[in-house]
Symmetry: D2
C-alpha cells in the first residue's frame, strides 16, 4: 500500500489550526530570541534518518518471538514499508540493507521502486554472525578474527560481495558489526584475534571503491559473553586509524557498559575526524534496542549537543555522519515504533540546535556549571514539537504521523495484503 498526499492533507486539516497557534507562539518566542526560525526548519527537514531493513518486522529474544502481522515478505515490501514511513514524516528517506537477507534479484527494478518512494540506499551491512545454509565454514568461533584462514577468507569475501551489492544500489558505505568474541576466559588469544581482525579489515578496506567509507562498530558483549574483539570505541578507533582515512568508528547507543559517558566519546571521535555514523536506539540494561528516546531522552539530547557542536564547527574535519536507527520491535508495531524513534531524534536535534552556544561557551570559560546547566535545560525544556510538525507540514508530511498511521489503519491493511503470519525475511 501507499499513502497518498490527499489523505495526509485531509488528516492534517483536523489539527491544522491547533498547530498554527502553537507554531505561531513558539516561532514568535524564538524570533524574539534571535533564532532564524526558517533556517532552523530547513535544517530539520534536511536531517534524514535511514531505516534498517531488519527493523520492519517483529524482533525476538532468545526466549521467544511474538509476531505481529503484515510483515514485509520481500525486499520490495521492505522498501514499501520505509516508503510508508517517509510519506508520513518525510524524514526517513533512506533504507539500509542487510546482506544476505536483502539481496536484490533485479537491481534496477528495486532502485526504481525505491526512487518512486523518494528513497535512497544508505550503508550496506554484512552478516558474519550467523551461518547461512550453503556456507562452507561456520562462524561459531568468529569470522574476521577466526583462527582459521579459510573462515577469515570466507568472511572477507562476503564483505566484498556486500560492497558489490551496495555499489549496484548506489550505497556509499559499508557498516561492519563484528560479533566476534569469546564467552570464556582463556578461549581467545586477544592479541592474535585483534591482529587477525585488522588484517582482514585491511583486505575489505582495499576492496572498497574510492568514494566509499568503512564504518567499524564496537560492542562490549553479546552474542559472546566474556569478550568481544572490538569491545569499545578505543579499539574501533585504533582499527580505523590503522585502516586509513576512509575508515571510521560507528557509535551504536546500546553498545556501551553501564554509565558510559557516550556524549564524550562522540565529542572525542569528532575531534579526531573519526565519527562515521550513528545507530540510534534506547536501552536501560544492555543492547535492548528499544525505541529511540523512550528511556533516556536527556542523554540523547546531550549527544546531539555534541553532534551539533561538531557539525557546526567550521574547523572540524569530520565528515557528515551517517544517521540510522537500529532497533528491534518485540512488542510494538514496527512502523509505529520507527515513527516514534524518528520523532525523538528530531526533537533532540531541534533542542540541540536551540542551545545558545555563545553563552554556553561563556559559561564554560568562566567555570559556571550552574549557568551551563540552565542553558542546556532551557533548550531541552522547550516544547519544540511545533517546529518538527511545521517542518513536516512544509514537506507534505503528516502533522501527527502516528495518529495518521492509526487513522488510516495501515497495519490492518498490511495484514490484509500480506497476511497475519508473514515473517519479515531475515528474521
Amino acid at each position: 500500500m501507499r499513502i497518498d498526499a490527499e489523505f495526509i492533507q485531509s488528516h492534517n486539516g483536523k489539527t491544522l489550526s491547533d498547530h498554527r497557534e502553537s507554531f505561531a507562539y513558539l516561532s514568535g518566542k524564538l524570533d524574539r530570541k534571535g533564532v532564524d526560525v526558517s533556517g532552523f526548519i530547513q535544517k530539520i527537514s534536511k536531517f534524514q534518518i535511514a531505516i534498517p531493513s531488519w527493523a520492519l518486522g517483529t524482533g525476538g529474544t532468545r526466549f521467544g518471538r511474538f509476531p505481529g502481522g503484515g510483515e514485509p515478505r520481500s525486499l520490495e515490501e521492505k522498501v514499501d514499508d520505509v516508503g510508508l514511513l517517509h510519506a508520513l514524516n518525510r524524514a526517513s528517506g533512506a533504507i539500509s540493507l542487510h546482506i544476505p537477507w536483502d539481496i536484490p534479484s533485479d537491481v534496477d527494478a528495486i532502485k526504481a521502486h525505491a526512487a518512486s518512494h523518494g528513497l535512497v540506499f544508505d550503508a550496506v551491512n554484512s552478516n558474519t554472525f550467523q551461518d547461512q545454509p550453503a556456507q562452507a565454514h561456520s562462524y561459531k568461533f568468529g569470522s574476521l578474527c577466526h583462527t582459521s584462514h579459510a573462515v577469515r577468507q570466507q568472511a572477507i569475501d562476503h564483505n566484498l560481495e556486500v560492497i558489490r551489492h551496495g555499489e549496484a544500489l548506489g550505497s556509499k558505505s559499508l557498516t561492519v558489526w563484528l560479533a566476534d568474541g569469546s564467552s570464556f576466559p582463556g578461549q581467545m588469544n586477544f592479541r592474535k584475534a585483534l591482529q587477525r581482525t585488522l588484517d582482514s579489515l585491511k583486505e575489505i578496506y582495499a576492496g572498497m571503491p574510492e568514494d566509499w567509507k568503512l564504518f567499524v562498530e564496537y560492542k562490549p558483549y553479546e552474542p559472546y559473553f566474556y569478550s568481544t574483539v572490538i569491545q569499545d570505541w578505543g579499539t574501533s578507533h585504533l582499527l580505523a586509524s590503522e585502516l586509513g582515512d576512509r575508515a571510521f568508528t560507528l557509535v551504536d547507543l546500546g553498545h556501551h557498559l553501564p554509565n558510559t559517558n557516550i556524549e564524550q566519546i562522540v565529542a572525542t571521535l569528532m575531534m579526531r575526524g573519526k565519527l562515521g555514523g550513528f545507530h540510534f536506539n534506547d536501552s536501560k540494561f544492555g543492547d535492548d534496542d528499544l525505541t529511540v528516546g523512550a528511556l533516556k531522552p536527556y542523554q540523547l539530547f546531550l549527544i546531539f549537543n555534541e553532534l551539533v557542536e561538531g557539525m557546526e564547527d567550521p574547523r572540524s574535519t569530520n565528515p557528515s555522519p551517517a544517521w540510522m536507527i537500529d532497533a528491534s520491535h518485540n512488542l510494538k508495531d514496527p512502523l509505529e515504533d520507527l515513527l516514534q524513534s524518528v520523532e525523538a531524534i528530531q526533537l533532540a536535534y531541534a533542542q540541540a540546535l536551540l542551545i545558545d552556544r555563545p553563552r554556553l561557551e561563556e559559561a564554560r570559560e568562566s567555570n559556571d556549571p550552574a549557568k551551563a546547566q540552565e542553558l542546556l535545560q532551557d533548550a531541552h525544556r522547550t516544547d519544540v514539537r511545533p517546529l518538527i510538525a511545521e517542518a513536516r507540514l512544509r514537506a507534505g508530511a503528516a502533522i501527527q504521523p502516528i495518529e495518521a498511521f492509526r487513522a488510516l489503519e495501515v497495519r490492518k491493511r498490511l495484514i490484509e495484503e500480506r497476511g497475519a503470519k508473514s515473517i519479515s525475511t531475515g528474521l
Copy 2:
C-alpha cells in the same frame, strides 16, 4: 540577609509580560484539554520540599574540598539560607536538621527564627557514621549492628536524643541512614548484623512519640565497599515491617545499583503503604548527590508518575511521603544548586500531574505500549515552566528564582556578612 518582597516584585516586573503571554498560551491549551489549571497550580504551591541543613555549604570528596564562601556558620544562618530559598521560590518551607551538627542552643529562639522565614522543621537525622570528639565508643565497625553491646547502646541513645531534639522543634519523624556495613568478604556475619540492627531499631522505635514516624534508608555501598547492612529496599521493607505501622522505607535516588528500576520500587512500596519519604538528587555513577534533574530528568518524571498515581489513589493506605533534597554541592553555589533542584522537582511533579491517566489506564488495559509511551511523552514534552512560574508569582515568589538570586548578588552579600572562609558547621 533577607530578601524583601519589594525586590522580588520589582525583579518580577522585568519578565512579567513575557510570563503572562507564556502562561496564557499554556493555560489556554490545558483548559481546552479539560485541565483545571487553578487547581493544578494549587497542587504545585502546596508541594513543599525540605532542605537539609548539611546541603548549605560546600561538600567534598575523599580527594578534597574546594570551599566557596559565605557559608552559614551557625544553625541560625542555616535557617537564614533556607529562608532565602523559600523567599525566592515559596517551595522550600522546611528544614531538616542533622544531629549533632545542628543542636539548637535555644529551642524557642530557633523556632521563632524559622517561623519568621515561614519555615517548619522536617525530619531529624541522626549520625552514627562518624565519631564525635567526646564519644566513648567508635563507629569504625558499625553502630546499630555493632558486635559490641556498648556501641549499639551508644548509637541507640544517640537516636533517642535526636528524637528529643526533634520533638522540641516540632519535627514529626526521624530518618535513620545507617552507614553500617563491611568492606571485606568475611568481615561481617550478615545474619547477626541484620538481627542486631533490627533489635536496635526496635528500641529506637519504642522511644518515638506516638505521632512520629521512623524512616529507614537503604544504600548498596559507601562508605563501606563490600556490604551494607541495609543494602536495598527489600531489606529496609523487611525491617520496617517488623518494626510496626509507623516505620517506613525512605528512598534516596542515589542509593541504587546501576540500572535499577527505581520507579517500580516506589510503586511497590506505595502499594504496601510503606513509602515514608524521598531524598531527591541525581547521579550518573553512584551516590553522586548532584542537582536534582541534572542528569536523568525523564527518570525523575517516571518516579513522579508513580508518586502521583499513588497519592491520587483513593484506596491507597500510604501516608503522604516526606519530600527532601539530599545533595552535595562541590562545584556550584549551594543555594543556586538547591534552587535548580527544587525547580526540577516541581517540573517533574507538574508533568506527572498532566498525564492523562484515564487514557493511560486504557492503553495499559489494551496492551498498547506505543500509546502509553505517547501519553507519557506528551506530558513530559510539555513545557510546564509557565505553570511553576505562575505558582510562584501567586505565592509572592520570584518568576525566575536563580536570576533573582544573581541579580541581588546574594552570594557576594553573604560573603561580606560571613567571610570568604566560613565553613558550614558539620562539614
Copy 3:
C-alpha cells in the same frame, strides 16, 4: 549409550597413583588441622545437583544458534544424557523437567528409565514465556500478571498441569520463573500487575499437594527490557511471604544487577527461612548462563560460605535448598560444560566446608577484617580437588570426569546414535 563401570575403573587406573599421593598429602594436612576427612567426603558425596532438561542441547542467542550434534531427541535421551553425567561424577543424580517440552508419554516407563540411571525427578518448571502452537491466548504481554483474566487463567491452568505431571514423576516442587514485565515506561501499571501476579500465584499455591514447595524466581530484566514484575529478591520474598509457608524464593546467580552482593541476599533469605533453591551459572554482564565458576569462582565460594553457615546452623528454620544448574551452552559441548559446572560447585562447597568457622566468628566479633579475610582465603586457596576426586572414586565415578568423557569419545558416539543435526526438544 551408557558408560559402564569397567570403563570408569580402567580409566581411573591411569591416574590412581597420582591421585592417591595428592589425596594422602591433603588429607594428612587436614587431619592435623582437626578436619574429619571422611565425614567431609560424605558431605561432598551427598551433595547432588539437578540438571535441567533444557541444558542438554546447544543454546542460542537472539542473533543465532550454532548447533553441535548428537543432541537428545526425546525425554528418554535427555534422561540418558543426565545418566551419562551421573555415571561420570555421581553428583548429578536428578533431572529437572520443563513443561511442555518434556511431557512424558509413559510416566511409569520414564520413571523406570530414570531409576535405571540412578536419577530422580527434581523441581518441575512451567513455561509461560512462549506461545505454544495450540494455545488459545498469547503471553506476548504477560501471563500471571496479564490484564486479561482469560490469559491469567490459561497460565494458572498450565502451572496446575505442570504440578500434575510433576506429581506423577515424583517431583516435590514447582519452580515459577515469570518472564512477565514491560519494555517501555508507562506500559504496565506496576501495582496492578503485582497484585494480579500474587492473586494468580495464590491459585497455583492452592493447587499444590501438601508436601510440595513453590519456588518463586526473580530477575531484573530480559526478555523484557524496562521492568519485570518480580524484579528482585525483595519482590519475590514479599510474594512468598504472602503465599504461605511452602512458598520460597529461588536465587538464580545470573538474575542480578551489576555488583549486587548476592551472598548477602542468600544470608538474609536463609535467616528468614525463605531460601528455596538455587540456579547455578556464571556471568559477566547479564544473565549470561555460562559455566558455573568460569568467571567468578570466589563469589561462588562466598555464596557457599553463607549456604554452609545457614545449613549448619542448628537454629535455622530454612529447609534444605534445592540445587540446580541453569545454564545455556552456546559454544561448548553441553555435557562437558555441565561436568565443569558440577565440579566448580563441588569445589566451592568443599572450600566453604573447610572454613574455620569458630575462628571466623572470633575474628568477626573482634572486628578483625584482615584475619577474617585470611581465614576465607586460606580455605579458598586450598587445592581441594583431591577431596572431590576421592569422593567420586569412592562412589564409583571417574577421578577426572571430563578426561574420561573425552577418552570415551562420548560426543562422537552420541552423534553416531542420534545424528549430527538432532536438535534437543524445546530449543
Copy 4:
C-alpha cells in the same frame, strides 16, 4: 623500628617443617610436569611491587575517617614502614612518592635511609587534584585542562617540579593521574578540554629527562561525577600516542566501569607496546581501593595471564611495566593490608606462570573453550602458596609475613614510637 633477620629466622623456625613438606609435595608435582621450579622461584623473587607513600596511613571517605595509630609522621617514617614490609616479604623493594606530600628536606639522607632498607624510589606522582595552602590558583575546575592559562601553567610547573624531585631521588618515571573532569552536563567543552590537556602534557613530556617515562592514568569518574577528561584507556592511549615513545598508559584496576574486561585492555595495550604500569587494588563497586585479591582473585589471575603472555613474548615491544599497589586502608592496619596485597599479587603471578601456554594456544587454535578453561583453572586451582613462601624463605623473608607481623606486635610498637594519634602526612 626495624625487623631484624634473627627474629624472622626464629619465627620461620616454627613453621619450617610444615613448609618443607608442602614445598616438597608441590615442587615434586611441578617437576614431573616439567616445570623448572628453581627458575620459577627466581621469577617470583625478582617481581618487586612498589608501595605508595600515601597507603601507609589510614584512608577515609567523604563521610569520615577512623584513624588507627602509629602512622608515619614523616617521609623517613614512611620509608621505615616500607622497610618493615620489605623485611617481611622481600617483595616490596620500592616506594612511590607523592609530591607535595613527600618532598624530602635532605635528598641524600633519604636516599641513604631508603638504601639501608634495600629500597629504591619508583615512579613519582604529582597532585593537581587538591589545593595546597600557598597555591596561587585553585584546581576546583581542573588543572591541565583548565580554561585559564595561568592554572594550566601552574599545574605544568608543578609536574616539572615533581620530575626534579624524582630525578634527585633516582626515580625514572612520572605518573600523572588527572582528576580533571566535570560534574554536570554542559559544564565542560569536551574537545577543548582534551586539547588543552594534550598541550599541557606535551610540555611536561618535554621536561622529562631522556631516560624517563610518562604514565597517563585514566578513570571514568570521581572526584567528578559526570565526566573525566581521560575517561578510559582509549583516551589515555590516544594521548600517549600523541606524546611520543616514552609516554604510556597506566592501568589502575579500580578505574573502570562495571563489567569492563580489563584483561583485554591489558592485552591490547601490550600489543601496542603502550602498557606503562599497573596500580593494583580490588573493588566491588567503584574505585574502592581495597586489598588486592580480596574480591576478585580470578580476575587478577586473568590479568596476570595477559601480563605474563606479553612479558614472555620475545617479539613484544612493550617495556617491563611498573608495578605498584594503590589502595586505601580505611579499616585494616595499613601494613597488614599491604602484606595481604603483595601476597595476592604474587599468587596470581605464580599461577599465571604455571599456565601450560603451548597447550593453551593449541586449545585456542582448535577452538576448544572447554579445554582452554580447564588449563586456566588447573593453574588457578593449584595451591601455589608454598612456592611464594619458598621464594621468601630463600630471600631471607618470613614464611608467613602477617603472622610474623602480629607475633612481633609491630603496630603496638609503632604506636609506642609514634603515638596513637599520629596522622600520616598528606592524609
